[in-house]
Amino acid sequence: MKGPLTFLKYNRDGDLLFSCAKDHNPTVWFADNGERLGTYRGHNGAVWCCDVSRDSMRLITGSADQTAKLWNVQTGQQLYTFNFDSPARAVDFSVGDKLAVITTDPFMELTSAIHVKRIARDSSDQSGESVLVIRGPHGRINRAVWGPLNKTIISAGEDAVIRIWDSESGKLLKESDKESGHKKTITALSKSADGSHFLTGSLDKSAKLWDTRTLTLIKTYVTERPVNAVAMSPLIDHVVLGGGQDASAVTTTDHRAGKFEAKFFDKILQEEIGGVKGHFGPINALAFNPDGKSFSSGGEDGYVRLHHFDPDYFNIKI
């Protein structure tokens, strides 16, 4: 890749991997061998996030060029462009792929906002109208995802607070506790396969596991560097944290100094199990293959690394 990676996403079948980077072209790869399949050309700014529909037909991307775009996964054709007044950050398809949530950054006078758009089955019927706009929370929203049955939207970002909104009325339903919650910017949020719980990563050097419905803090994983990316294995009770010191603070002395390993933790015991080395810069993105047998990491160094687990990995006992 030509720029630092920002986001990684597998499709449901786990055969395709979509990557977003600060260069302007989201890319799709074969998840198995890392062969490049194609790029989606049309954005004019860093691409922050993407999501792929359940049937692997549609891709949605959010970019710093103040747009979010819908793509045909197969042809790479642009289907629709949602225009905003500030950079789009997070995108997420709802269950059923009929809705999408898109967040926009605070920009000039504008505060950050969460937009809900209806996604038409036929792209010629697509309109840019928002079903719902939620404005308000301070600072940037780094991730927003759908809650169970599309009834809620979960957002997290710079102000270190996780919020659950009603997706119908836009009312704030719950906020994470100041005491037990994160102390610094939340950089990443990843849902479990069934959507029942989710994991957040923060610059406060920890990751936390929450119940999606009640926003109860279940687990905390403490590490020694800021967390930029998190992922949960769908197969085993493991979580992976990626991060490293800020790119601007990386010294030239020793790559180990930055702690750019992806760290594995036992999901239940909250203990560190091991690390996977490889990147020469902070890890910005992590994703598990839905089959749980491989995962990929994307770094500030511009590389996407595909990791396939040894058979031994599945026999780890503690």
Binding site: R12, S94, L149, N150, D194, H197, R213, E224, A249, A257
Partner: protein, 716 residues
Amino acid sequence: MADVMMMTDSIDAKAAQLGIDLSSVDFDSIRLPPGDDFGIKSDDEDIYQEENLEFDSGFGNTIVVDNLPVVPREKFEKLEGVIRKIYSQIGVIKEDGLWMPVDSDTGKSLGYCFIEYNTPQEAELAKEKTHGYKLDRSHIFAVNMFDDFDRFMKVPDEWAPPETKPYTPGENLQQWLIDAKARDQFVIRAGSDTEVLWNDGRQLKPDPVYKRAFWTESYVQWSPLGTYLATVHRQGAAVWGGATTFNRLMRYAHPQVKLIDFSPREKYLVTYSSHEPSNPRDANRVVINVFDVRTGKVMRDFKGSADDFAIGGTGGVTGVSWPVFRWGGGKDDKYFARIGKNIISVYETETFSLIDKKSLKVENVMDFCWSPTDPILALFVPELGGGNQPARVSLVQIPSKEELRQKNLFSVSDCKMYWQSNGDYLAVKVDRYTKTKKSTYTGFELFRIKERDIPIEVLELENKNDKIIAFAWEPKGHRFAVIHGDNPKPDVSFYSMRSGQNTGRVSKLTTLKGKQANALFWSPTGRFIILAGLKGFNGQLEFYNVDELETMATAEHFMATDIEWDPTGRYVATAVTSVHEMENGFNIWSFNGKLLYRILKDHFFQFLWRPRPPSFLTPEKEEEIAKNLKKYSKKYEAEDQDVSLLLSEQDREKRRMLKEEWEKWVNQWRQLHEDEKLERQKLRDGEASDEEEEYEAKEIEVEELLDVSEEVLSFD
């Protein structure tokens, strides 16, 4: 509450009177002059008291100059000019800070004036410098602090017998030593918090004792025997200690104190401050106080310019190297000494004056150090007169000032002296020029202090050109370790002052080649040593047993900056302090290099083990214990086992609980997931959802006919 109401009322009234709109005032932008509270008392009694220390009445920076000429009005200006000239040399006089009162009857001046400076330090300096200043024969200045007037005026006319306070038994300051589990304490400073903890090596975790935010304004320090914890504040230093919690035991007023130092038996505390001169031509003013730790009384103070306290006889050294005063004389804190230009001043603590009322004159002396146990000074004088007069190292007995031993050395570039902790040996590292004078090589002169006539032995490394990176004596022992060679992988050698048969000869034990080490840390009980690679070596650690000459373990604490053994030699702490941005915190290891636990703390500044006083056991008793160690250790080993059993039991229990708890969540989620299945299907337009159920493993057998051929086989 009523008070506050009244205050607001009066503020409103005052504001109205002055025509100020209170709502337009940004209160945050108002900075009160330091030390002036405008009569508003702080709620915090503690702060209020401490403020009091420095500013008795707010006139601390005003002096009164008496014995001025009495002059008529027309000469006022001239006299004021003269006074201003004298006093503005010393410091900056405040605007309207000079005031000469006038006798209203005669119209003449009264012969005195007030001068207000910007700081109390300047005022004090002015008093010191101009008291007794001769303006002319009949006018000799008498200068006093304004505050002193106040104080002396307040003295009651009649003497009242001082109240005898009833005796209250003090706390047992040694309480921490009788911990049932024989653990050691340490103090850490991270962020704004200072915390004292027990090191529980058995439980693999620290156990908190006492924590306090903003305990100190710069750093903390244990006294050498561990009785007190000293903190440093703007107003002075303070010591803390006690049986259960850390109470303040004593305060030592010394404005703007920067550095502190205890005498080895913690009888005295030396405090140091340096004050920026208001006149850029002057050097910094240095104030040093010596306090009695228990009474808090100033035993002696030293004042002067920074130049007077700069160490190194040859001059040209800027700044003051700490500690200025070095304590000697062994057990009783009897002597302390400092180096000056061509002199070493040795003071004794009975009278706090120079021994024999004069300093020790040593031409060009560069460096000195005390024996840790005896009143013996070792001092180094460099070469003089271009090599005509050799450099020398001498041992001087105090208080007789008699020279015990002297060694002349030739073509020396530098010397460093290392005492063994019992004062048995002195090693002098000598850097000599080679014949071409272009490079240097290093050798050692080893003094045997306790033997008759103090024999000296010369030790040179096998490879003379090796650079010496580190040197360390085994505490209480006869061995030493040297790191030598050129980076990146130097060698480490161990020597003993005794050879097998001959106790009077130094011998090499072993050399370890190519180690990633640049610092040596002996266990306080000897025998074990850590070869550490700090800084450039990223925190490599090698735990080495010198008795067996074998490596016990190698480990790494990435980026470690500090290493400290606990006072018993059972545990080692390695720390990454805030000089690095990442991974601040500390690790605790066992003496043989097993990582026991690690704690991460952002903005980690200090880790200090609480020292222990020397053991009260006689050497015979200690030997007896060492001999019968098995007998004594039985009890502790049993305890260890109990704890480790308990720990693993607890650990299992904890894991079981966590697993159970998790199961509960998972079951709940599964239930909810199941409940919502239909709705989810609806959202997906009836598409049978929920991946897992869809997958059905079917075994399909496919038979394919590839080829059929017929062959005729003949039977013969």
